[in-house]
Amino acid sequence: MPGMTAIEKILARNAGVDRMRPGDLAVVRVGCAVLYDNNLIPSNWRRLTKVFDPDRIVVVFDHRVPAKDVITATAHQTGRDFVRQFGIKRFHDVGPNQGICHVLVADHGYAIPGEVLVCGDSHTCSAGVFNCAARGTGSPDMLYAAAKGETWFRVGGTVRYELEGELQDDVSTKDVFLHIADTYGDHATMNVEYGGPALATLSINARRTLSTMSAELSAEFATFEPDDVMLDYVRERNPGLEFEPQYPDADASYADVRTVDLYAIEPQVALPDSVLNNSKPVGAVAGTRIDQAFIGSCANGTLDDLAVAAKVLKGRRVADSVRLIVTPGSQNIYRDALRAGHIETLMDAGAVVTNSTCGACGGGNLGILAPGETCITASTRNFKGRMGSAEARIYMASPATVAASAVEGAIADPREVLARTPGGAAS
């Protein structure tokens, strides 16, 4: 009998069985349940009478913070009551520890290798970077998981991505993702597993862009093979904690194994409405005029993303016709970026830097698009109507490409913008 993939092993372990195979139904214990403000909306929430373990529950307000209206404020109030009711310590209210749930899960080390993490937001696969079975669920799922400490998954086949080579300058894992989504389309009912020699060249932040964006492949789980960089990161945030990372078996059975040469990838841009089979190298759409540019979200609000944006905007100006909105992934990242000088650089260039929130990514509390407008975004989704009007067009690209486009007033190749001396002709 062939071996198991990383996700099959994690699910088997948490279901208390020896094997897990595509087609199985996995009923598993939950290591961490993350609730966020959308779960707390009056129409979604029910007051719980018990929780399985208050120390394994995280509560985050991120989609609409600070509260934008009475319903939002009511949801936040419900969350504060819930936190008090059960003495939950991992609570991220509006304030210094505010941030986007997936960013906080990573930065605080809430995702433990070999365990199961569920959250009511679809980009929960983000935590797969920590070799965790992390999946987005719905609001009723979260009530169930919080009460019982248990959930279920249908087990699908696994596609393995073997990453090789090294990224070229000013190309990022966002471009790698867009390349994969363009080449292979959706992975509905399937899992993706990332591994290979290039892993060692990628930071946790860079890997997390890839795992987070895997929600857009419609993947069930996106799981990274463990390595020392990741394990040290988790240990640093959980001193003394014992855990069991799960490596794929050497003879694991994959639905497909695909090699991606990172060196061969150039900046990509997804055309409006979908990232599936819908991207082009930036040169093919360069010159398309834009009204708004956005850098943020659980996929691209890291300190590294802000640093890249600052590098492109240093000494340059956002075009008069463009609104550039930058939203850090957490208030801690915001403070780090402030200390590093990135915020000053971005603001001097004309960007609006907002407090940490999901914000413009989902057309929530800010940065809404009008009919006929065009936006280029480094966030998670470019569905029709996602960021406001259904008559707006949303292109998607890396933070470098978005920043370069904000400078040009039109979609632009960051390598070309960076090759020119700020404020002058080509160097």
């Binding site: 129409s43 009723p140 009460a147 249908r154 029709k384 996602r386």
Partner: protein, 166 residues
């Protein structure tokens, strides 16, 4: 259980922003129903009748975790049958109590308006016009039971784990 109804066809990769736009996420359930498919099929909610059936293509319900399945249930649609259903959307169908089946080839086997007869006993999908019957993927018994019980909310209520709605 056999459900019979008129079919409405949707294509591949129908996403949850289309079923339930972001701005409607914080609305009441009643208000959310009024927004279903407003961007891609305005007026559709006034054309449908209780018991109608959605026939979808590949990866129906891709996207966010929002309670889009609940809106389809609240519109009194009988069920969804699609070539494939997005994993997150399927779990929301189970947990909000909206019947859903994956049936490869269903999209090609139906024209909009055809009558369908769908069996949740043997998981077959029959086109009443053409007489053609397709085999859908069985739903695991525990998930089907939750789906048919109206989702997990009534189950949690019964176990006293959540309070009644106010």
């Amino acid at each position: 259980m056999i459900l019979s109804g008129k079919t409405w066809k949707f294509g591949d990769n129908i996403n949850t922003d289309l079923i339930l736009p972001g701005r409607a996420q914080w609305f009441t359930e009643e208000e959310q129903m009024a927004c279903v498919f407003e961007a891609n099929r305005p007026g559709w909610i006034h054309e449908i009748a209780p018991g109608d059936i959605i026939v979808g293509g590949q990866n129906f319900g891709m996207g966010s975790s929002r309670p889009a399945a609940r809106s389809l249930r609240n519109l009194k649609l009988a069920c969804l049958v699609a070539d494939s259903i997005n994993g997150l959307f399927f779990r929301n169908c189970v947990n909000w109590g909206f019947r859903a089946l994956e049936c490869p080839g269903v999209s090609a086997a139906f024209e909009e308006g055809d009558l369908a007869a769908i069996s949740f006993d043997d998981f077959t999908v029959r086109n009443q016009r053409t007489g053609k019957t397709l085999q859908a993927a069985p739903v695991p018994p525990s998930l089907l039971a939750t789906m048919e019980a109206g989702g997990v909310i009534p189950l949690l209520e019964k176990e006293g784990l959540i309070e009644e709605a106010v």
